[in-house]
Subunit: 823 residues, 2 copies
Amino acid sequence: MASDAGKTGEKLDKMSLSPYGEARATVNDNPLSEDEVTRLTEYFHATLYLCLGMIYLRQNPLLREPLTVDHLKRRLLGHWGSDAGQSFTYIHMNRLIKKYDLNAIFISGPGHGAPAVLSNSYLEGTYSEVYPDKSEDIDGMRRFFKQFSFPGGIGSHATPETPGSLHEGGELGYSISHAFGTVFDHPDLITLTMVGDGESETGPLATSWHSTKFLNPITDGAVIPVLHLNGYKINNPTVLSRISHRELEALFVGYGWTPYFVEGSDLPTMHHAMATTLEKCVTEIKSYQKKARDSGKAFRPLWPMIVLRTPKGWTGPRKLGDHFLEGFWRSHQVPITDVLKNKTSLQKLEDWMRSYQPEKLFGEDGKIRPDLKELAPTGTRRMSANPITNGGVLRRKLNLPDWRDYCIEVESHANSRFGSMGNFAKYLRDVVVKNQDQFRVFGPDETESNKLSAIYEGGKKVWMGDYFEEDEDGGNLAFGGRVMEMLSEHTVEGWLEGYVLSGRHGLLNSYEPFIHIIDSMVNQHCKWLEKCLEVDWRGKVPSLNILLTATVWRQDHNGFTHQDPGFLDVVANKSPEVVRIYLPPDANCLLSTMDHCFRSSNYVNVIVADKQEHLQFCTKEQAIAHCSKGVGIWPWASNDQGEEPDLVMASCGDVVTAEALAATALLREHLPQLKIRFVNVVDLFKLISPDEHPHGLKDHEFKAIFTGDKPIMFNFHSYPGIIHRMTYRRKGQHNLHVRGYREKGNIDTPLELAIRNGIDRFSLAIDAIDHLPGLGNKGGVAREMLADKRVKSKIYAFHEGIDPEDLESWTWPESLSNKDPEA
Amino acid sequence: MASDAGKTGEKLDKMSLSPYGEARATVNDNPLSEDEVTRLTEYFHATLYLCLGMIYLRQNPLLREPLTVDHLKRRLLGHWGSDAGQSFTYIHMNRLIKKYDLNAIFISGPGHGAPAVLSNSYLEGTYSEVYPDKSEDIDGMRRFFKQFSFPGGIGSHATPETPGSLHEGGELGYSISHAFGTVFDHPDLITLTMVGDGESETGPLATSWHSTKFLNPITDGAVIPVLHLNGYKINNPTVLSRISHRELEALFVGYGWTPYFVEGSDLPTMHHAMATTLEKCVTEIKSYQKKARDSGKAFRPLWPMIVLRTPKGWTGPRKLGDHFLEGFWRSHQVPITDVLKNKTSLQKLEDWMRSYQPEKLFGEDGKIRPDLKELAPTGTRRMSANPITNGGVLRRKLNLPDWRDYCIEVESHANSRFGSMGNFAKYLRDVVVKNQDQFRVFGPDETESNKLSAIYEGGKKVWMGDYFEEDEDGGNLAFGGRVMEMLSEHTVEGWLEGYVLSGRHGLLNSYEPFIHIIDSMVNQHCKWLEKCLEVDWRGKVPSLNILLTATVWRQDHNGFTHQDPGFLDVVANKSPEVVRIYLPPDANCLLSTMDHCFRSSNYVNVIVADKQEHLQFCTKEQAIAHCSKGVGIWPWASNDQGEEPDLVMASCGDVVTAEALAATALLREHLPQLKIRFVNVVDLFKLISPDEHPHGLKDHEFKAIFTGDKPIMFNFHSYPGIIHRMTYRRKGQHNLHVRGYREKGNIDTPLELAIRNGIDRFSLAIDAIDHLPGLGNKGGVAREMLADKRVKSKIYAFHEGIDPEDLESWTWPESLSNKDPEA
């Protein structure tokens, strides 16, 4: 019956790319009885009837009266184009779920294909269980129709309100990476994934096919992608639908899959072809998994996938007047647009809807016919009710080691250098060790560069590609590992999103500047989380943790392209209910912060911390106190004890904290009469008003820390603007002088880069003097000395033969730690 | 000699994936004389010697003395891994440039491979011409070495300081899309493009291979991609280097290319293989182009490309102690790291460098041997000196129609609805018509949806895929077109960047929410432009114009995922010297703005304007005056003539302007004694201080418009934060109350969405009353009425049977236009 793809290609290759006619397929058989074909067709028609109902009707849901304009929605919205192909695939999976008792979920990749998913969820009864007013009767169906793409209702993607969905679409490109995220560590799961041929043109989707190189057949489940060659996007043909069969087949072999083609429009033959092909995929997957699991030896098969070529808007009218509809991009959205004004069109719509014979499919009570309902699985085997798609309900807490056991000794403040990230790696390693089935670390080939390589002792890098002899030399590769590295921020982020949305935990680590690559993905994940808060049956999923390192201030040799701390601006725009931003200043604060993030749920946590060696400030106890407050005065660096200060020196971020402390030391050296209060911010949202973010300090708390009237020099890790927008309502806002990254980059020493951007100790101290009235001559003298030092340090940095590393220590004022009141 | 790829595949398929040994290749011949092989090797060695010199030396550049630690840089930075493969390819192209008098440029895709490009540019003399102090002698070489990855010097990417570069890398993934951008409308150009196998894992790169479906062999040049299978990224093997030959070959056939393999490490045989293969690529390209040009019939061949598999760090030591170096990721960066402290390592480095025999390659004066220099082309045929890589010097002004001829009639303000975008499309069509060889419009399948389809009358959509009968039904496809649409924001942006960097003009149109997909690309382009300002030999390139539409406020049926106006935050963080943001409120202002943008150079212009029908405000003359100022008072909407107002109502954006005007009308209806000044902002950077952006209003100008002490209700298109950060220094900042998008989205009517986010007319008017002291009882009454209307409009929006379109007109106060003093 079956033959390998690539061998029958020639037959298909000679055929036209047209999606019309009897089915042609890579594998051919007739596994269905005539009755099965009939019932499958009827069930399929029932879903399509519901799709049209959602787009058009607000009354008369089963057309028990002749259709009139009054039955229609006044504004027609929604998408028809991909509904049929998606529903067709969904229904065929139902057959196999029943036959093999599969644990399966469905991911709808094509944009705006929600009617396909919603209609199946409604027929399966899940929709009515979740939303009792959308009951399985005529009135429920009417309400089910009306809410779709209607003000106050639901959208035309598989939004969080959709039972069985953990992937909305909206922005396209992530169906495959999300699907892989769901099957990692879910060895029995099969995620059936529709991929739009429009979506497949996006970069993120194009590279995500390579996810097979990271899938272990022993510990992970499987993905069955169905590339839906619908042929058209909004207004254009799709690239993959207009290349030769040879190219198309080669492409997927090249991506590491075995593509099985199912092409055509004739329903009976298409049912046989799809039933045969999908069953072949399932049995192949089972046999690969069995082989690997029986032998204990993982390998990388060319996993099966399906290329489904059907007409866009399949089963609709081929033409409307002179214009093509089915099989053309005109069927993308509302297929017949002028039904409100054109009686002929209205009649066409009615004829079309009646052609599905609703009176035969639904009983008098409006319920789907019982013998049709039998085609769907029941309970949690329904793809619309699989709890994996509501991962929050499956969430188990992480088994976390005590972070305090990993704290470093800080004998005196700001007096020793240490790598915060390397230290955190040990804690992270043990998180990996203790959570081998529900925690993974993701990153785009930067985990070692980011000083996190200690985690490989707890779990190596998953690698299903070939192995070379040199891999033994610290390659840290394994078939079964816990670290996922591919040079695609999109793919690793997509995997992580799929992993947490299906109930597990993880961390993405990335260079700070390149996290902008996934701005829009994080955006969409935030929107998903926010909307879930309004959906009461959704459980809270583990937080998505993003650790940013290789930060802007230590790009000495990478230069300007590696300097962009602006991801925080993107995140800060999202709903305060779902975003958290932390900038721990040192090793112990980093540990405390990460522990907190790993315990949280339903957030996007962004943590910024550099990977190089840095001065250390807080002891374990101080870190506990400081991070639990999120912002605080550091008494050991202040000399305003018990009094109002003349100046507040504040910082947020590690490098800028060191510079601000050094500036404080310089000022105290040159102007010992000054009373300076030193404040550090770990939790960025502490700055904002409490009515804009739950973490915001109340005004009196803000005043108690920052004063209401004293100059504040605020040294910030990122662009200054974010501090200004967060504090614009605070009293004394005009006294707040923020220094941060100002897009003044070059191949610089760290100090030179700091000077160019004005966050260095000298600039800060000078700026403080400029904002402090009444210093008189002493201020002028100090200012001159500091300016001179700033110039000298610049010259020094450029002087031939000086090791920039030496420069760093040369300019660090030793006096700081000597003045530590606790030392 | 030649045989088609795919037929010899089997031989290669049976071989190991190891990159070592004699060359094996898809096509085999021995076209080089022994002398040529020798000289190519020597030239190659000369470039590699220079690469190591750049990484290590600050003295003793030609090793005329024994190497000591004092000759070394104190901090070793730079990247060795991909240098050899890139230089090898570059040198072989030189041979063909000379042989066929080719017009060619080189794009260096792999990260941090600049030494390969820099060394070739130095040997060709270009570097010394551009930077005379880096002269072709010993002292010049010493300076050339020292500046590399050194404070104040140049980076390890092909930064703007690099002659012959228009692609820096930094963030990876855009080499192929940039390359295609350069060859569109450059029919004789061949862009040789090295693609890193790390880079090839990124999404943007993975889909950009499909660019061939948009390349016309008659009007466009050609790209020769060289996929460099170096084998390793920073710390990981690459996916494409560890899959079978069959998969790899299939992948590129699938992408629409003919892959020719060149694999090995043995230099003489590799020279023959590369010479044969690259020549085959060039002659195939020429023959495809000739066929198409002679016949006038465009077609899509499977264009030739090269897969070059060589060891990472090729020609370096295979092992250092127990560790692998050549052919492993340990050679990625500085290959021998401990030379400053380990004498044995220092000796190894010296032996290695001397193994290239610098004393034979360079003369007594430090110049490359004359018979080697002959291998490189001369003048502008040198890839390092091709003016296309300095596109600004080739820039021709656009031939622009007079935008005023396209203005719409505005008889009375805010009294008629019109589609600004559809009108702009006519102007844009004529820009296309008048600039058929130097202007293209780019977009991800949204041009028609964005109401710009009129441009197809001036130039259709380029499509080199297959054609179906229905394409005649408004498909607007053509082999030769001026509109480039592929559902990959990354690819179309990359094409546009390549197009403008090589001297031509263009426009990208996109849905507003999905432009975040290319945040990081626009970031990098801004950084490139900014750095170019410091490079005096770089000409100004045409601006990169990004038109955002389908904006946040009109996502009635797309819902929450389609609502994100935050791209402006990302852009506003970039250097003020290169970014401009405009929000024209209506059709005539849009025309004026676009005309301005098309005349500009060296900027990234971001223009935000909705595509739906909107109220129109400005006559042609008013638009001229308003847009040339960028911000201004609208007297016809104000009633404070000649006096200080009680309230300033301000807006920036089209929808929010209509709402703010309606609020003004409501306030004047209910509180006629109020003096209200209406201000509109087109040029967002007018708000910021002039020392932060050249467009910023001076403080007295700001005060003259916004007052220094009156309440300002500012209705903003995007997130409010950006207004606060821009105005935090302005006097009266605490009186500025900004309303904007607050991430409160749903499937809503436009008015309901506005209400949820607080930018609607009722909320604005109520807020204004709340901020106006002394209104007494009248204020309270008005407030109550407005609150009642707000509630009613909300209810109305949800009420069954109301057409949301009707709702919009229902709530629009007719009184506004009646109060127009000019009407």
